[in-house]
Symmetry: D2
Subunit: 196 residues, 4 copies
């Protein structure tokens, strides 16, 4: 089965992924921790959660990598022939073709994808759109809150003055200097009100 | 709040919508039952569920209708100034602009949309894609079953011989003669196996 | 697997049960519709939902009946040797021993119990307590609303004047003359406020 | 609203509680972290999760403490007059009277209780039974797995040889010497099979 757990920034998706993986590992099951590389030059392989958990991804997927081939390679490294469970962080950055591969692999494999649903403009990421089309289980990771106390559903890009930005490149890393991201409810995102 | 309850054909979405509306009506709340007209010439306004429930839509939306304007018109007809709850059946046929309007209206209105997530090719309907992007609550209406006993997630078009069709117009009414629709699990949809 | 779907009066539990059963029957699966007899002398076997759906229970369980034995008897009547799915309405009236039997049967059978969680005093029914202890899947059937608009969670017994009653026999049939039942949110049930 | 999130041992309840509290704290909301003292002599106030998160409880409740009074005391310590959110770990150890107090406090306060549903014999803890009766939102914390791969729902006490124990005191701390706890599916708990 292919699962997609989506949630806004700050909803503790990665922490939930790492806890779920921990539970499966404790039972001796064969799991792989996977992460798409947004920028393959960087080669960053750390899966990191703000609440204080982290782990190394065992597979860092470039945008044109075949997941099937990469898994065969990883299984060979580990001298076992297959996997039972995949955990994929930042799944919004998967390509449509990679999600298609996951859907096919999920006949015989349980795959748990965690990621954002939409970008700062309220548009899909390619991986999210494909996962929402094809995943057999779709669930929200709750926990994101707007400053007004309502559930946050919109990933919002704000500048250092707190102004809501609605135009620009889809992917721009939160550097806490020129931009950062916060979760807002739909109404406050739409009206561009980033604080009370 | 804008809610999207999606499910495959045969998952009793319309019955659930009609029961929910019934409960709200019993409390004397101001509700409207809405349906997009796939073909405006037909003017069909019946909201119908196979299990034996039906009701008349109070608003039949043409593809270019403004929901906001139509609601003002309907409220005037009823001599009350506003609505508290909207129930929208077959919401996959809404246009992107109509879903955008719903998202704005949902600041002050609870809106419950029921519809399909994807078409027979596994692609989004325009209304479904917009609802998945913007709805604040997204839930599956369970109940669709594949012939193999697994949960059905794919709306499948089959010809009279039971062959799975994967090409053609997005919207084609189930006439039980040239085509009909069934729910399959992802694996059996992908492999084109419509029965055991 | 043993499932318990609980909900307040008026949350359309029975309608949901009948729709789910309909979907399983359509696929040719072997299902049985079961109902505990609150009063075995009556022998009423109708499974009835206010929204306009009903069916005849195939098994009416007396308080000391063994479900296992009754199912063997029913299978013999039908000339097939087993069942795949049981649908049990008003499951709060099952005895603890019957729920224990269901938990054991659920190794090889999918069992869907629908019922109330608590009585008009906020205390468990025997069947509900046992199901909450042993069921492997527990889900709320949503849809009950308090007059204030909040979710209703408390089954409330009121007299013809609308006064909230908190003492008396656990089971007393709603006759619309001396008493009736409504759903309230916890706060309004606790404060005994049955309308706005 | 009063929420009860239940799950078996090892389902990462405490980690989820700590992440949720972290998200609320980040927004500057007034939260309190509460824990019942199973043994008040010990005075242990650490809220601890195996995956690597922990925090100090701000309130350790003795079995006869009034939560209302303790919160007034804590608010006075902090020089603010009220709380907006309570997070309660190990909520199965609350007394029935304490849960009753929580239900009343939840008119104006959001309360999130995390705990076990049943003990090693499949019987309720006092706090769990009361929470299942009165909480307005009841959800399972998923993640517990049986050795067979199915969802674990039963907290199981095993001796050092791995034999399943079904008699004894309800509360007995896991010391990894005389006893420990594992999660099993209902079938394997019932049959007393603790490993494959």
């Amino acid at each position: 089965m292919l699962h997609f757990y989506y949630g806004v920034m700050g909803s503790s998706k990665t922490a939930q992924l790492l806890m779920q993986r921990y539970n499966y590992q404790q039972l001796g099951l064969k799991v792989a921790l996977v992460k798409p590389a947004v920028d393959t030059r960087a080669g960053q392989n750390v899966v990191f959660s703000r609440v204080g958990l982290q782990a190394d991804a065992e597979l860092v997927l470039g945008p044109t990598h075949s997941i099937r081939e990469q898994l065969l390679w990883l299984a060979a490294q580990r001298a076992h022939s297959d996997f039972q469970y995949l955990f994929i962080d930042e799944a919004q950055f998967l390509s449509e073709a990679q999600v298609q591969e996951l859907a096919e692999l999920s006949d015989s494999l349980d795959i748990f994808c965690y990621g954002l649903k939409t970008d700062f403009r309220g548009q899909f990421f390619p991986g999210s759109a494909a996962l929402l089309r094809l995943a057999e289980v779709i669930e929200e990771v709750p926990g994101g809150l707007c400053w007004c106390g309502k559930k946050a559903t919109m990933n919002t890009r704000v500048d250092p003055q707190g102004s809501v930005i609605k135009e620009g490149a889809q992917v721009l890393i939160d550097n806490h200097q020129s931009i950062r991201y916060i979760g807002l409810c739909y109404e406050h995102w739409r009206k561009g009100i980033s604080h009370g």
